[in-house]
């Protein structure tokens, strides 16, 4: 075992050791309290001595083991820093207490003891938060206490679990797999605490993996560390989740296996993947994986889901008719409405908006107020529409003051402000909208600097820097996974340079070719003397193939075929194969160019000679 291994091992004793100083300090405090009511100074002093003698070394041991435990990392930085500081303060105070006791300065001793006790409270709270999460104490606190502490209510379980059951809108990863991780894994492998460097709270982190490598291998559940660990026997050291934590059901593991086998897709709906019936029912359970705490990434809505659509459909009809606007459901299963008031034009005023917000406010998801007669005052009614996702306010009379009324719209994703009197001042408010993704500012008085400032304010969040880092890590992993194989240059292109035929003699008539008459035949350009020959070749290519092969592979410097004669028909001398003439489909060689000229002028005179030399 190396020193590092010992360090890791001994660090694990910190949770054990740290409770000794806590108990001892409390014991000492108790002794002092007893001394207040039943003054037996000497007895108390005598009792405190051995306790103090135990306190100092155990505090030191706790501090050292704490340091060793923190070294591998994976803890929330801020919490760790606070815990460390208060712990060191306590350690220093115990030393001072011991010194005061030895020096018989009881007043000072009691002062340090009191300080030590007070310092214990935050130190142990931070320690507990490090191990169990920031909201460990308050998670199940009664609502009045939460409210008193100023904590936001997490969305009730029913709202969280209304994952849409329509298969074409059910994102398998987001609605089926990530909630599973949120329930069983994220408390130790999440944003606040990432044990073994592994985070399971969002897709990018899944691929990045942790200290032991990637958590899963798409397509291979057997090779995926995540699933392997979860399938180990419960008493195995490496079994995940650790013993004592809530354990997933076998059906959940089957679901995970199916998902990994399908390639671990993070952008596919249930309708797109083939799922066996058991998996399908498991995914579409209404209360699937209701997490005990709100997921750490998106801010949860403070408002509960509105009642189902059936309760308001009659109101929809009458209101749509009365206000002369279009109100329609978004989907048949969810309680959302889309409202188009633009069709009413400037006749739609603040009063109408008030009525709409009053009767149907929580149901409205998309609201089109383009070109209507609303003003800044009317925007105040939008507070009654907390679930607005898309809002169009273009070409209305609103100004910067009205934009402040958009603050409660925590779910707003798209905001259209074109053609309004918005200026730079109003833009800064929009940075507070947590989910805003699309903003339209054509024909407003907003300048480019204000736009840049807004984009920076929205995108310079620490999570985004972390994600970009993870992206870079994933890219390096991809690079490393690539295999480049070099097999040398590809074979030479069999095509000749375009436009140059492979022959100079027509394979059909044996005459010299006309370069304008060509044909692509089996990836080669063949030339012919005339179009008739070409047509003939096309009809029966097999007949001329052999001839073409001969003509296409000429010896260098030759026309491609050996002359038929070895004797010059004019002079009778041995013929030079380089001096040739094509005549009547034959290639005839001559001894010299004079004979060739003679033959050319009077071919019939020497025909007999030619046929004789065949």
């Amino acid at each position: 075992m190396t020193a590092a291994d010992w360090a890791l091992f001994l660090g694990r004793f910190h949770p054990l050791l740290v409770h000794l100083p806590i108990g001892l300090v409390i014991g000492l405090v108790f002794l002092e309290l007893v001394a207040v009511f039943r003054p037996r100074r000497a007895v108390v002093r005598a009792a405190s001595g051995p306790l103090l003698a135990l306190l100092v070394p155990t505090t030191l041991a706790a501090a050292v083991s704490g340091w060793l435990l923190a070294t591998p990392g994976g803890y929330d930085e801020a919490l760790l820093r606070n815990h460390r500081i208060t712990g060191l303060v306590i350690a220093a105070l115990t030393g001072l207490m011991a010194a005061a006791h030895v020096l018989r300065r009881s007043g000072l001793y009691r002062f340090f003891l009191a300080l030590c006790f007070v310092a214990l409270l935050p130190a142990s709270h931070y320690g507990g938060s490090l191990t169990h999460g920031r909201d460990y104490i308050t998670r199940y606190a009664p609502p009045w206490m939460k409210h008193w502490l100023g904590l936001r209510q997490p969305a009730p379980a029913t709202a969280q679990s209304t994952a849409p059951i329509d298969p074409t809108a059910f994102d398998v990863y987001q609605h089926g797999i990530q909630p599973f991780f949120d329930r069983y894994c994220v408390s130790c492998h999440g944003a606040e605490k990432a044990r073994a460097g592994l985070r399971l709270d969002h897709a990018a982190a899944l691929w990045a993996g942790g200290d032991s490598g990637p958590a899963l291998v798409p397509g291979q559940p057997a090779a995926s560390l995540l699933l392997q660990r979860m399938r180990l026997p419960l008493d195995h050291d490496d079994h995940m989740p650790p013993e004592g934590k809530p354990q997933p059901e076998p059906a959940d593991l089957a679901l995970l296996e199916w998902w990994i086998l399908a390639g671990a897709p993070t952008n596919r709906t249930l309708a797109e993947l083939e799922a066996p019936e058991a998996i399908r029912t498991r995914l579409l359970r209404p209360s699937a994986f209701a997490p005990p705490q709100s997921p750490s990434q998106e801010p949860s809505s403070a408002h509960p889901s509105p009642p189902p659509l059936e309760t308001v459909l009659p109101k929809v009809e009458t209101l749509s008719a009365t206000l002369a606007i279009s109100i329609a459901p978004l989907t048949p299963t969810e309680p959302w409405l889309q409202v188009n008031a633009a069709v009413a034009g400037t006749r739609f005023t603040d009063a109408h908006l008030a009525r709409l917000a009053d009767e149907l406010g929580p149901h409205i998801r998309w609201l089109d107020l383009s070109g209507t007669g609303i003003t800044d005052a009317g925007l105040l009614h939008l507070a009654a529409m907390p679930h607005l996702e898309r809002l169009q306010l273009d070409r209305t009379a609103i100004t910067d003051t009205g934009l402040a009324a958009l603050r409660p719209l925590t779910e707003l994703e798209s905001l259209n402000l074109y053609g309004t009197g918005i200026t730079d001042a109003g833009l800064s408010m929009l940075a507070e909208l947590p989910r805003l993704r699309r903003l339209y500012l054509w024909q407003t008085r907003v300048g480019p600097e204000a736009v840049h400032a807004l984009i920076n304010a929205r995108t310079r969040r620490p999570e985004i820097a972390a994600w970009e880092q993870e992206l870079a890590q994933l890219q390096t992993r991809l690079e490393r996974a690539r295999l480049i194989v070099e097999t040398g240059a590809p074979p030479a292109d069999p095509l000749p340079s375009p436009g140059v035929p492979i022959n100079t003699i027509c394979p059909v008539s044996d005459k010299l070719v006309n370069l304008a008459v060509t044909l692509w035949h089996e990836n080669q350009l063949v030339a012919f003397c005339c179009t008739n020959c070409r047509a003939q070749f096309q009809q029966e290519p097999a007949r001329y193939r052999a001839r073409l092969a001969q003509l296409a592979n000429p010896p260098p410097g030759r026309l491609g075929v050996q002359p038929a004669n070895t004797q010059c028909p004019v002079s009778g001398q041995p013929a030079d194969p380089n001096i040739t003439l094509v005549h009547a489909g034959q290639l005839i060689a001559f001894c010299c160019s004079d004979c060739r000229e003679q033959f050319r002028t009077r071919p019939d005179r020497y025909r007999q000679a030619v046929s004789q030399t065949q």
């Binding site: 074409t168 008719a321 009365t322 383009s370 699309r438 339209y440 054509w442 095509l495 060509t518």
Partner: protein, 489 residues
């Protein structure tokens, strides 16, 4: 019992009155109470184009559809499908291994040869996505990052009439409702004063004779006729006989319409013919169009910068650019489906000249439409579709020279693009072989395309049906069609 008698029995009075806001009873009732114009009275009006109950089937990605139909079939090899190696194969014969027995039209079946005609136009990469676009579409190339270019659309039909009918109504055999009619039937429309489905047929620049268009391409088929597309005329009044004749004012017109509606209602009660309902609805819509059409076509308040986006032709009524601007205005006013059918892309001969002329008609206006929708925030909720009914062949029809060629019809692969609501921009979907003849990867049948369009609008193509002749008819027919997830964002 005759079908008509059956129908009358099924159709109770209550169902009749509930079914449409343009029904006779409501109008009559309203005007009995207040004789002045319905709009100004502020009396509650039921919706003119209600959606079917239960729709949309799931959360829509787009609220409107603008369909730019290039009738005649634009040549994909000269516009979108870049095949540089074809340059080496000028005048080569199309190998049988590529053609694989594809049937020819009668226009080229008599040809002895099928020489390959590479495109004479230069291609370049554009935008951040690096999509290849030819020099014929310089403006569209500038917005290529908004487009999802589908290179592998395919069909079975090889001639214009059956192919256009197939693409726009779901079957080569006429008699079925068009895509716009289905959407209008299922989702209704948001505007009371404009039709749910509007059609425009602008003029074209290439040679004069063009393939005919048919009313069935925007018709309602077996759906009640009130769901058909309303064509806006290119020249003169957008809608004929809209304005009151001399001596008739609005009150008189209103009284006439109400009387007519009562007469029609009596006729309906007697015979149960649904076309009477349609007729009542159309009269009512015509009345409303009297005020909404002049406001729609008055371009007075459009800033010059916006007009410049579409090009200089935008102020000339009847051009493609003017139709695009009107399409944007219609969508702004709540119309559900706008279809623009641009003709004469059928370049059997003189392709270099004719295709350039056609592209000049549409190129700048397409970019203008996309940018105009985008800056108004309408692109995220409007689906824009562009394409023809099939593609064109790689081989030349007629004489092939280095500067001129023609192409015949080719159903096995062609290019369409989609942009806007729910579609990922800057991607190319699918891959064709080196001859732009066969599909290598990711085919998109036109049925799949229609299913995807319906999906973006929030409709499950399998669930939007209408019982006719004993079948639950649907746009995508009885064969399998799937939504193309690869182009959706």
């Amino acid at each position: 019992m005759t079908p008509l008698q059956e129908f009358t029995l099924r159709m109770t009075r209550r169902a009749f009155f509930k079914s449409t806001g343009l029904a006779a009873g409501r109008i009559a009732l309203a005007t009995l109470m207040l004789p002045e114009l319905l709009r100004a009275s502020g009396k509650p009006q039921p919706r003119a184009h209600p959606a079917l109950p239960g729709l949309p089937h799931f959360k829509p990605r787009a609220r409107h559809l603008i369909y730019l139909f290039m009738n005649g079939a634009p040549s994909q090899i000269d516009l979108w499908d870049y095949k540089p190696r074809l340059q080496e194969m000028y005048d080569a014969d199309l190998p049988d291994s590529v053609r694989q027995g594809q049937r020819l039209t009668t226009m080229t079946s008599g040809q002895k040869r099928f020489p390959i005609a590479p495109s004479i136009f230069k291609f370049a990469q554009h935008g951040q996505s690096g999509i290849w676009v030819s020099e014929l579409l310089p403006y569209t190339a500038q917005v290529v990052d908004e487009l999802a270019v589908i290179k592998t659309a395919h069909t079975e039909a090889i001639n214009h009439d059956p192919a256009a009918t197939y693409l726009l109504t779901g079957s080569q055999i006429p008699g079925r409702p068009s895509l716009g009619a289905w959407i209008s039937y299922g989702l209704g429309s948001e505007s009371d004063n404009l039709p749910a489905f509007v059609v425009m047929t602008p003029r074209w620049s290439s040679k004069r004779d063009a393939q005919a268009l048919y009313q069935r391409l925007w018709g309602s088929g077996f759906l009640p006729a009130r769901y058909q597309g309303v064509p806006l005329r290119s020249i003169g009044d957008p809608v004929l006989f809209l304005n009151n004749p001399a001596g008739v004012d609005s009150t008189a017109r209103r009284a006439m319409l109400d009387g007519l509606a009562r007469l029609n209602q009596i006729a309906f009660e007697r015979s149960g013919d649904p076309e009477i309902q349609t007729r009542i609805a159309q009269y009512e819509m015509a009345f409303r169009l009297q005020s909404s059409i002049p406001e729609l076509t008055d371009l007075g308040n459009e800033p010059q910068a916006v007009l410049d986006l579409y090009g200089p032709e935008v102020t000339v009524p009847g051009t493609f650019a003017a139709s695009c601007l009107l399409a944007r205005r219609l969508v702004e006013r709540g119309v559900r489906v706008v279809q623009i059918l641009h003709r004469e892309w059928d370049t059997h001969e003189n392709l270099p000249r004719d295709l350039s002329l056609q592209c000049r008609d549409i190129d700048r206006a397409c970019r203008g439409l996309i940018l105009d929708l985008k800056q108004r925030g309408l692109l995220e909720e409007t689906l824009v579709v562009w394409g023809g009914e099939f593609g064109r062949t790689v081989y030349c029809q007629g004489e092939l020279t280095r500067t001129n060629y023609g192409r015949d019809h080719h159903p096995r692969c062609f290019t369409m693009w989609m942009a806007g609501g729910g579609v990922r921009g800057g991607i190319v979907y699918g891959e064709t072989d080196d001859f732009s003849y066969n599909i290598v990867r990711d085919p998109v049948h036109i049925r799949d395309l229609n299913a995807t369009i319906l999906y973006c609008m929030g409709i499950d193509h399998k669930r939007l049906t209408y019982r006719f002749q004993g079948l639950d008819q649907r746009l995508t027919g009885t064969e399998e069609a799937r939504v193309i997830q690869g182009i959706l964002s």
